[in-house]
Amino acid sequence: MAIVILRKMAKGQKGTIHRVTASGEIGRRIRDMGLVPGTPFQVQGRAPLKDPVAIRLRNFTLTLRNSESDFIEAEVEEI
């Protein structure tokens, strides 16, 4: 297992939320959408200009900007 930030993950890669390092409004918003430690997710793809990123978790698709995905650390299988 390795820990990477969401921005570094490739399309189609699966992972589990390890930690959300943001506090305040952004942190609360990210957690409200269900990104809490232990949640499995998959990177679905990126927008035509590589930002934002779309991830699939808890049966829905969420998109967030790269600047926000920097706050999200994920556990992934070692490649």
Binding site: R28, D32, G34, G45, P48
Partner: protein, 724 residues
């Protein structure tokens, strides 16, 4: 107890959970749409009758949570706390259960009586899981009714359950969740402190208040400080201690631990027999298959352009016919008034003030209906979220948001749009700074009313390169809108971009009824405005351009001239009529120059000589604030060409081309000015509706200033380069 509207029930739920569809299914036509005081969050109220109980239903804005993150969330929360409805119907999307239950848990923690509508159970089944509603209800200790809002199934059972809850007079009974060894002890301490001082306990349960202090909820803390600074201070201190402790020991925050435990509670809740997965959970959903193409890196943008172009064409092509009917109707009305009213200021008021003014605004109604219908389709299918996703990166560079694109395009990003529906389309933007920047800059686009003015000027001065100049103007309007948006966002609306966390909802086929309701609600609000504010403003403008009338002595000169022509009697009848018309036109020009608007126009030449404009142009621009297409007819009067009805541009075009004081440079400077200056009144009214009257006023002053500076630079720069 079964009388009056005291049986108030609120509808709460996540965005895209089918809440509005359910609201429409329950209330039908007995509804009312307004705004929550002070903000542009829509407030929908409706009525229904169950057995013999009258129930008032309030559709709260769709929210993911009850924190104070967005205006919608704040509105929903404050409504529950302050208006204290008898119960909340919480609509939960069964196909997306755990995230939807996050809001449910917060409602239960607040303690308000809750009734769950487990919606889209059909979708959940299709996605391969069954939910045991009874078991879920037993565990949460609230009624859970399976529904399918699209078909109306489960609606009756839901209403019966709601009526029972209301009749029983259910009391507030907060849910108690454990937040673990780091938070629970301090929560207890805070709860005791709050209880002993009866601190905000009239509004919400003590534990809830304590939680909000730990979550550093700005709104609750503000209210707490007002209520009792001493207790609030102690609570803030306790929260701060925990926060520091958590950061040191766990490198975490109280709100993170709280969210973790809420989701932990939900996971535990759904274990052991509530959700049953069938074998086909891994199959690719239709939405994912569609998204493979629709948000594909290459095909996505191409298809997006085609789809947006299709909506645009649909709006402006198909609305042409009904717009034509309305225009014909109003000009018929004008003719009727012309022939039946005695001449005088009253007649002029009715024709030029009331009929032209209100007609000009109501003429937009078919356009708005078509545009809203198109947007409702994009919105209700879930495509609009994809557009925002694909374009966000581009628009963010200029301090805007991916969703700004619709507003720009409809306003005339493809030349010939209209800023009225464009500004209203900005409603899909959730973040306030980006929305206001969009509202202010969208009117820079070349709307359909500016086009005839441009066409007249192009025909006069750039007739050999019509298409190129038109294309250049379209590009210029985009450049101006984006750059000025950037300017606004780095000065008066400075601030980080609002976090972009956008759900891409599954594609859904919208119901026709839903689309019609959606469309009509928005259009009706516009029509109501037309009858009131716009009518008043048109009358003011009419008065400015008609008063004071020419003094008797001056009028007599024209009367004498006419009399002498008639007395002379030489020449054919047609020649005679033409001479009389000429004098009429000269009189109209003199009257316009003599009116308040004319004097303002003359006074303004002190400033506008920088741009090369004389009093005639100024008056025309002034009248153009009412509606851009009027610029041509006012200019016609000012050049004593007679008050030709709209669209007649050839004589004016020729007149300007022949005038030695006009140069291509001056014409281009005027085009730039018209492109950028104050939006028309219909648009300003909409900007006010979508923000505040201050921003409406700002758009007029700021945009005119921008126009003045840019067009002045163009004119003076051109002169300096020797282009004049």
């Amino acid at each position: 107890m079964a009388h009056g509207w005291e049986n108030l029930i609120a509808l709460a739920g996540n965005p895209n959970c089918g809440k509005t569809t359910l609201f429409n299914a329950i209330t039908g036509a007995r509804r009312h749409v307004g705004n929550y005081p002070g903000i542009t969050v829509e407030k929908k109220e409706g009525y229904c009758q169950v057995n013999d109980i009258e129930i008032e239903l309030v559709d709260l804005p769709g929210t993911y949570s009850l924190t104070a993150y967005s205006p919608e969330e704040l509105v929903a929360r404050n409504y529950l706390i302050q208006d204290r409805p008898s119960a909340v119907i919480n609509i939960v999307d069964a196909s997306n259960l755990d995230r939807n239950l996050y809001l449910t848990v917060q409602l239960l923690e607040l303690g308000i009586p809750v009734l769950i509508a487990l919606n889209m159970v059909d979708m959940a089944t299709a996605r391969g899981f069954e939910i045991n509603a009874e078991e879920l209800g037993r565990r949460l200790r609230v009624p859970v009714i399976p529904t399918v809002a699209r078909t109306g199934s489960g609606k009756e059972e839901l209403l019966q359950a709601a009526a029972q809850l209301v009749q029983k007079g259910a009391v507030w009974d907060p849910l108690y969740i454990s937040y673990g060894p780091d938070i629970d002890p301090v929560l207890d301490k805070m709860e005791a402190l709050i209880g002993s001082g009866s601190f905000l306990t009239d509004l919400h349960p003590a534990r809830w208040t304590a939680l909000k202090y730990l979550e550093a909820d700005v709104e609750v803390i503000r209210k707490g400080r007002e209520k009792d600074p001493a207790i609030s201070g102690k609570l803030e201190g306790l929260a701060e201690q925990v926060s520091q402790h958590l950061q040191k020991t766990l490198d975490s925050y109280p709100e993170a631990i709280i969210a973790d435990h809420r989701y932990g509670f939900i996971t535990a809740l759904l274990k052991g027999g509530v959700v049953k997965h069938s074998h086909k959970t891994d199959r690719l959903y239709l939405t994912d298959q569609l998204d493979r193409v629709l948000i594909n890196r290459f095909f996505g943008p191409v298809l997006m352009m085609l789809i947006i172009y299709a909506v645009y064409t649909f709006t402006f092509t198909y609305s042409k016919v009904p717009v034509g009917w309305l225009e014909a109707g109003f000009s018929e009305l004008g003719r009727l008034a012309d022939s039946s009213l005695p001449p005088g200021p009253f007649k002029s008021l009715i024709i030029s003030g009331v009929i032209d003014g209100v007609g000009g605004v109501l003429g937009f109604v078919p356009l708005i209906l078509f545009m809203f219908f198109g947007i409702a389709i994009l919105e209700d299918t879930g495509y609009l979220a994809r557009v925002a996703y694909m374009l966000d990166r581009v628009f963010r560079t200029f301090g805007l948001h991916g969703s700004s694109v619709m507003a720009y395009i409809i306003s005339g990003g493809i030349a010939g749009g209209c800023a009225v529906p464009g500004v209203l389309a900005a409603r899909t933007l959730r973040s306030s700074r980006e929305r206001i920047a969009t509202l202010i800059t969208a009117p820079f686009m070349n709307c359909g009313a500016k086009l005839p003015v441009f066409a007249m000027l192009i025909a006069a001065f750039f007739s050999s390169k019509e298409a190129q100049v038109m294309f250049l103007l379209t590009v210029l309007s985009w450049v101006a809108a984006l750059l000025i948006a950037k300017l606004i966002r780095s000065t008066i609306l400075r601030g980080p971009s609002t976090p972009f966390l956008l759900e891409l909802p599954p594609y859904r086929l919208p119901t026709f009824k839903g689309l019609l309701i959606h469309t009509w609600e928005r259009a009706w609000q516009y029509i109501r405005k037309a009858g009131t504010i716009i009518l008043a403003i048109s009358i003011v403008f009419w008065a400015l351009m008609s008063f004071p009338g020419l003094p008797e002595s001056k009028r007599k000169i024209y009367d004498d001239e006419r009399a002498s022509i008639l007395a002379g009697g030489a020449g054919s009848l047609a020649r005679l009529g033409a001479r009389i018309d000429e004098i009429d036109n000269e009189e109209a020009q003199a009257a316009l120059k003599y009116s308040i608007a004319g004097r303002i126009g003359s006074g303004l030449t002190l400033v506008t000589s920088v741009n090369g404009f004389d009093w005639r142009t100024n008056v025309a621009l002034l009248s153009g604030i009412a509606a851009k297409e009027i610029i041509i007819s006012t200019m016609g009067t000012a050049y004593s060409l007679g008050r030709s009805r709209r669209g007649e541009k050839i004589p004016l075009s020729g007149r300007l081309a022949a005038d030695p004081s006009w140069t291509p440079l001056k014409a281009f400077s005027l085009i730039i000015f018209i492109m950028l200056y104050a939006p028309c009144f219909a648009t300003v009214t909409c900007i006010i509706r979508e923000s505040t009257w201050k921003w409406g006023l700002f758009s007029m002053v700021f945009n005119t200033l921008t126009a003045f500076i840019v067009s002045g630079l163009v004119y003076r720069g051109g002169l300096w380069l020797g282009l004049g």
